[in-house]
């Protein structure tokens, strides 16, 4: 595996850029895809946002100062792209973000790329009711199994705050699943 610092230098060098970008895409595409998919839910939208994320990374790599890890930086771009995508779609359809996300979850029933049973569908409905931050933390911790330290760098939140958000999210989801 190529060292991150070397990769960043190669990405900024005109002669090595294309090859380095290929390495970057191969290294991070799957992880970023699942982060985006957990927000936009639908595969085609996730594909669209993932491509836009890499294009944005490619165009802005000169602005990457190295204050954070390349992984955290890209994860942050992917998360923001996905959240903005949701907001724009909601605006286009003239509904609130929450209403739009409820629609996304109900569309899962007919989605060929969603093979969840009833309880998994209920889980997605429960996640959709969470505030944005708790939703992100829950998905990143529970499904992607990221460490609190990693999430802390991506979301720019303290580890203590993240633990509290995660705990609250779990409690709310359990409550939702019990009630339904």
């Amino acid at each position: 595996m190529i060292e991150e610092e070397t990769l960043v230098l190669d990405l900024k060098s005109k002669s090595k850029q294309a090859q380095a970008f290929e390495v970057l895409v191969n290294t991070y595409k799957e992880r970023l895809y699942w982060q985006i998919r957990s927000i936009v839910l639908n595969h085609d939208d996730a594909d669209d946002v993932l491509q836009n994320t890499f294009i944005k990374v490619y165009k802005n790599i000169d602005g990457f100062k190295g204050d954070s890890k390349l992984f955290s930086w890209m994860y942050r771009i992917a998360t923001n792209e996905a959240l903005n995508f949701i907001k724009q779609r909601a605006k286009l359809q003239g509904v609130s973000d929450i209403d739009y996300q409820e629609r996304l979850v109900s569309n899962l029933e007919a989605d060929v790329y969603f093979e969840g049973d009833e309880i998994q569908l209920q889980l997605q409905k429960a996640i959709a009711t969470l505030p944005e931050k708790q939703k992100l933390v829950f998905n990143m911790k529970y499904f992607q199994e990221l460490k609190y330290e990693e999430i802390s760098k991506i979301l720019d939140t303290s580890v203590g705050g993240l633990k509290a958000s995660y705990h609250l999210a779990v409690k709310k989801i359990e409550q939702y699943l019990k009630e339904d």
Binding site: E22, V25, N26, K29, E30, Y33, R37, L41, H43, D47, L50, Q51, F54, I55, Y58, N84, K87, V112, Y113, F114, E115, G116, D117, I119, Q120, L121, L123, Q124, Y142, F143, H167, V170, I173, E174, L177, K178
Partner: protein, 168 residues
Amino acid sequence: MNKNNKNPFKIPEGYFDSFEDKLMDKLSKTESAIPKDNAFKIPDNYFESFNDALKVKQNTEAKVIPLFSNKKIFAVAASIAAIAIIALNYNWKNTEEISFNDLANTDIETYFENNDFDLSSYEIAEVLPVTYTEFSDFLSSPIESDNLLDYLNENVSDFDELNIEDNE
């Protein structure tokens, strides 16, 4: 044990050091009611073909537009004509700079509608001038004083709390 320590209760050694791990263990057990299988699927060979799809998109975005297409010539001609018309009609003596007041309200509203500022009500309230602001500026229909008195009668037990100053 320190003689001055009057606390008769003891705890097992290293209790607080391992507390967080035990708590997290317990939390992870309570999560078992939540399914963990990934119900989201992807098309076959999606990740294998992703790089090619990304290249196509990158190339589309960076597509070179021919310098002298017919459309371009028309556009250049139209721009020159437009500049000439504006230049002929422009009042060159007018040296006033454009200020905020020159913006149409509809343009400002459109700008706010199309841009996300992530401002909370409190943040907006902090910059909103209150000196010349009346309640009626925020209400689509005015409140009748009778209704206001009824509301205060029903909801306020101690009128001193309202800190009303008698200015009359």
